[in-house]
Subunit: 264 residues, 2 copies
Amino acid sequence: MAIYFIGLGLYDEKDITLKGLEIAKKCDLVFAEFYTSLLAGTTIEKIQKLIGKPIKLLNREDVELNFEKIVLKEAKEKDVAFLTAGDPMVATTHNDLRIRAKQMGIESYVVHAPSIYSAISITGLHIYKFGKSATVAYPEKNWFPTSHYDVIRENKERGLHTLLFLDIKAEKGKYMTANEAMEILLQVEDMKKQKVFTLETLVVVLARAGSLNPTLKAGFVKDMLKEDFGKQPHVLIVPGKLHIVEAEYLVEFADAPKEILKWA
Amino acid sequence: MAIYFIGLGLYDEKDITLKGLEIAKKCDLVFAEFYTSLLAGTTIEKIQKLIGKPIKLLNREDVELNFEKIVLKEAKEKDVAFLTAGDPMVATTHNDLRIRAKQMGIESYVVHAPSIYSAISITGLHIYKFGKSATVAYPEKNWFPTSHYDVIRENKERGLHTLLFLDIKAEKGKYMTANEAMEILLQVEDMKKQKVFTLETLVVVLARAGSLNPTLKAGFVKDMLKEDFGKQPHVLIVPGKLHIVEAEYLVEFADAPKEILKWA
């Protein structure tokens, strides 16, 4: 008689909270979607085993067009869990689903989980100094989005850091690497020429956040382009003005060039 | 032989992840601090029972001045867990502790947990549109901080939302309410007169994030001043430009005045 939006967290099946697992186990039906975000360190089989129930996996069309028919209809009579990677309401799609549930008279609850929005604090960059975030999408024929470049510029003007999400094409199994994102941003720089993202720009890459051994690497674009950050998911961060402790942390934990200590 | 920074999440003892609990159980020694953030829905006794070990509680002085002596010395020979509310590296103090561990040759790991930085997505405000965040501190004799006001103004100029943390004086058991924060911001408005935070400003209050029944309320300051949001912790959000789905969500879940639908 209710729908529970339960976050699975960042990386593997052990990133769900005790609260989330307990509620999922009690629910009559369990659905999940993985097209808004990738849970790289686990499989649906492992999550099923943990919860002790079959999970019905939904694709984008199921969620965006048929959520009422497939999920909410059931939640009228049963307790239903809807599992998603990260913290559930971070994906704006899920806000909309919660509105649709309310309009059908269905109670909904949110069970939070670790999210990349706070996990970026593992970079040592002070989290309150992050400005607006943006997504780097794969350019398509006749469609080359560049708004991420403007977001970086606006944040930099205020000394703020920018978190960049990288495109996901789950249906094609395609997850953008930080290297691809840097190449795209350099192309935008070539078009806009505002010196926002050049070969000399300092960037930070965080790969597989949520694992005990994520890759964390900081350096100039010219050097980072050639780096191998390991498996996806990756996020790319363009730091704003660095505080000395932020610079020290990046040198200690992200192998950043020591010269950044002089900037702070 | 390592220190594990383990997040306890937002509200009660069930907001830790399975990974966090598993590691804490395996550690030889368990420390915790609660002065940077409040875990309102539980007690240290309940957390101890869950982990099955005594927890040594540290105050601000222990952490900021004596961490090497009390904690890191132990981590040279043993596996040590350090528990904190929220996602551990969000508190900038903890970044610094991790640097100190590294400099003593001690391995450190971070286990993420739910954080207010992503939990604010339960307000329905699109999370990528949050700008820099700020803290509203209790004014003191000869010290009336006002930078939060400037942060709200700068974010508003770009249409962005502002998350405001409210002061914690854990040693006095004093946790600022959203009502107190609004009164302080109105005083700053009186001083600065830039029409950034007035009686007509729309604000959103989220109280007890992480509980299954948090209080979520949106309205104009003049009306919100008198509201009772229940127990702390509270956060106060000053929205920027609203998208229509954000406005709809606030009307459905935060009892926002319907006229905001016309702004979006």
